[in-house]
C-alpha cells in the first residue's frame, strides 16, 4: 500500500514532529495506523493523506500522533517502583526539603491516567506521612485524546486487575457494566497536561520535581532525541531528585548525567545533588 519511498518520508515526518523512530521492522505497525487515519479522513490515497497531514488540515498531525502512541497500561504496573517510592525515595527527598515545600511527582507520559492515579492511590494506602505533606501529582502526555480519558477517570476491569479489591471498593464507583470511575476527590488530586518531552520549551514550564516516572517511552526515540529528552528531564528534576524508567530501559546508556541508585525494590536514576559525578 505504501511504497518504500513513501514509508521513508512518513517516518522522517514522524521523527521530525515527535522524535519517534520507526524502522522497516515496524512497517506493518505504521501502515495499520496510516490506514486507520486514511479511513477516518476519507483520503483516497496515501499521497492525498500525506498532503493532508503535512498541511495539518483539521488538526491531522495531532490525530496522527495520537494513533501512533501506545496507550495500554494498568494500575500498579511495575509496583516495585511504587514500593521504592514510599520505601526509600520520599524519605531521601524529605531530608533537606524546606518545611512547607510541596512534594512534586510527575508521571510522563501518563497515557490514560493509570500511572498518576496509581501513585496517588499508593501514597494514600502505603505512606503513613501522606497527610503531613502537600503532594502535587502531575500527569502529562503528548496525546490529547488519552489526556481527556485520564481526566474523565473511568477505567475498565482490565486496568484494575492488579488493584486489591478493598482499594477498588474504597476509591472507585461503578459507572457501567465494565466501568469504574475514580472518586472525584482523588481525581482532583491529579492534574493533567499535554507535553512533548523532546521540546524543552514545553518541559521547562513545569519546573522541578522530586520524582519523575518516565516509563517505556524513551525506547521509541532515536539516540539524539533520547539524549535531548533525558536532558529535559534532568532539568525538570530538583538536585537529588529521582527518575524511574521502565524495567527494560537504562538511563546509563543514554547519558552520564544521572547517578544510578540501587534500592531494595528498584534501580532508579538520580540527578546529582551537586555537579555530575566523574
Amino acid at each position: 500500500m505504501v511504497s518504500e519511498e513513501e514509508f521513508q518520508r512518513l517516518c522522517e515526518f514522524l521523527y521530525r514532529r515527535t522524535g519517534m523512530v520507526f524502522t522497516e521492522a515496524k512497517r506493518y505497525y505504521v501502515e495499520r495506523r496510516v490506514v486507520e487515519r486514511m479511513k477516518a479522513t476519507a483520503a483516497g490515497s496515501f499521497v492525498d493523506y500525506f498532503a493532508r497531514l503535512r498541511s495539518d488540515a483539521g488538526g491531522e498531525i495531532e490525530h496522527f500522533v495520537n494513533a501512533f502512541t501506545v496507550n495500554e497500561t494498568y494500575f500498579y504496573r511495575e509496583e516495585h517502583q511504587l514500593r521504592c517510592l514510599t520505601g526509600d525515595l520520599l524519605a531521601e527527598r524529605l531530608r533537606g526539603k524546606p518545611p512547607g515545600e510541596a512534594i512534586r511527582i510527575w508521571s510522563v507520559p501518563c497515557s490514560t491516567g493509570e500511572e498518576p492515579y496509581s501513585i496517588a492511590l499508593w501514597l494514600l494506602e502505603n505512606w503513613p506521612l501522606v497527610d503531613q505533606y502537600e503532594i502535587e501529582i502531575l500527569g502529562s502526555d503528548i496525546d490529547t485524546a488519552v489526556l481527556e480519558r485520564a481526566r474523565a477517570g473511568v477505567f475498565g476491569k482490565r486496568a484494575l486487575l492488579r488493584l486489591p479489591p478493598h482499594v477498588v471498593a474504597k476509591y472507585f464507583a461503578a459507572a457501567g457494566p465494565d466501568a469504574w470511575k475514580i472518586l472525584d476527590d482523588l481525581r482532583e488530586s491529579v492534574q493533567f497536561s499535554r507535553v512533548n518531552i523532546v521540546e524543552c520549551a514545553q518541559t521547562r514550564q513545569y519546573g522541578r520535581f522530586d520524582v519523575i516516572f518516565c516509563r517505556n517511552v524513551l525506547i521509541y526515540f532515536d539516540d539524539a532525541s533520547r539524549r535531548v529528552a533525558a536532558e529535559n528531564l534532568y532539568e525538570n528534576l530538583s538536585p537529588g531528585g529521582y527518575i524511574c524508567l521502565g524495567h527494560t530501559e537504562s538511563m546509563s546508556r543514554i547519558t552520564p548525567l544521572f547517578d544510578v541508585r540501587r534500592f531494595a525494590d528498584a534501580i532508579v536514576y538520580q540527578r546529582p545533588a551537586g555537579g555530575v559525578g566523574g
Partner: protein, 212 residues
C-alpha cells in the same frame, strides 16, 4: 480523603532558563556560569553560527554536564559541520570525551555516513576500531559492504575482531568470502578464528532459514 492539591502556584523555576536571544546565548556559552553555559549549549545549535560556537566551546569546556549538553546539541544538529566538530575527539586521550564523542557521532546517523569510509582507513588503530562500532548503525547492507572492505585490507587483528563482531549482527552471505579470507590471513590468532567461525556459522544458518 486528603491528597487533594491544586496546581502549585509556587512551582519551582526551571534550573536553567534559556537565554533571551541568539547573541546572549552565544555570549553565555563562552562566558556564562555552569548553569548558563548548560542552558546556552542546549539552544544555540538552532541559531546562526551556533554549531561553530558549540565546536569551539567543546574544546575548552571542563564541566562534564555542560560538555554533555554540547555533545547532545552537536548530535542533534547532525550536520557536516557538527560531525567535523566531533570527529577529532575520537582521538582524545580523555576517555570520557572520546566515549562521549563516539556516542554523539553515532546519534548523527546519516550525517556521519560520508566520513565512515575514511575513518575505517584511518592510520590510528583505535580510530579504526571505534569506526567499526559506528558502522553498526548504518543500513545492514551498507555496513556489511564497508566492513568487508576493511576485513580484506586490515592488518590489525583487534580491528578485524571489532568488524567481525558487528558483522555478526548486520552481515549477510555476501560477507562470507571476506570472513574466510580474513580467517586465512590471521590463521593462528585464536580469538579471531573463533569469532569468525561463530559469525560465519550464524550467517549461513540465517541464510538457510530464509530460503526455507
Amino acid at each position: 480523603m486528603p491528597l487533594i492539591r491544586k496546581p502549585s502556584t509556587a512551582t519551582s523555576t526551571p534550573s536553567s532558563p534559556p537565554a533571551a536571544d541568539a547573541a546572549s546565548a552565544l555570549f553565555l556559552l563562552e562566558n556564562g556560569t555552569d548553569d548558563e553555559r548548560w542552558a546556552a549549549a542546549r539552544v544555540v545549535s538552532q541559531m546562526t553560527g551556533g554549531v561553530a560556537a558549540l565546536a569551539k566551546a567543546l574544546v575548552g569546556e571542563r564541566d562534564r554536564r555542560v560538555r554533555e549538553a554540547i555533545l547532545t546539541s552537536l548530535a542533534r544538529a547532525a550536520t557536516p559541520e557538527s560531525v567535523q566538530a566531533l570527529l577529532p575527539l575520537v582521538r582524545s586521550d580523555d576517555a570520557q570525551l572520546r566515549t562521549g564523542a563516539l556516542d554523539a557521532l553515532r546519534a548523527t546517523k546519516d550525517a556521519l555516513r560520508p566520513y565512515l569510509p575514511s575513518l575505517l582507513r584511518d592510520g590510528d588503530v583505535d580510530v579504526r576500531l571505534l569506526a567499526c562500532e559506528l558502522a553498526r548503525n548504518l543500513p545492514a547492507q551498507e555496513a556489511s559492504h564497508m566492513l568487508c572492505e576493511l576485513l580484506d585490507h586490515e592488518t590489525e587483528p583487534n580491528v578485524c575482531g571489532a568488524a567481525v563482531e558487528v558483522l555478526a549482527e548486520v552481515g549477510g552471505p555476501e560477507a562470507l568470502p571476506s570472513l574466510a579470507r580474513c580467517a586465512d590471513r590471521f590463521h593462528g590468532t585464536p580469538f579471531l578464528d573463533f569469532s569468525i567461525k561463530v559469525t560465519a556459522d550464524r550467517i549461513r544458518l540465517e541464510s538457510t532459514r530464509s530460503r526455507e
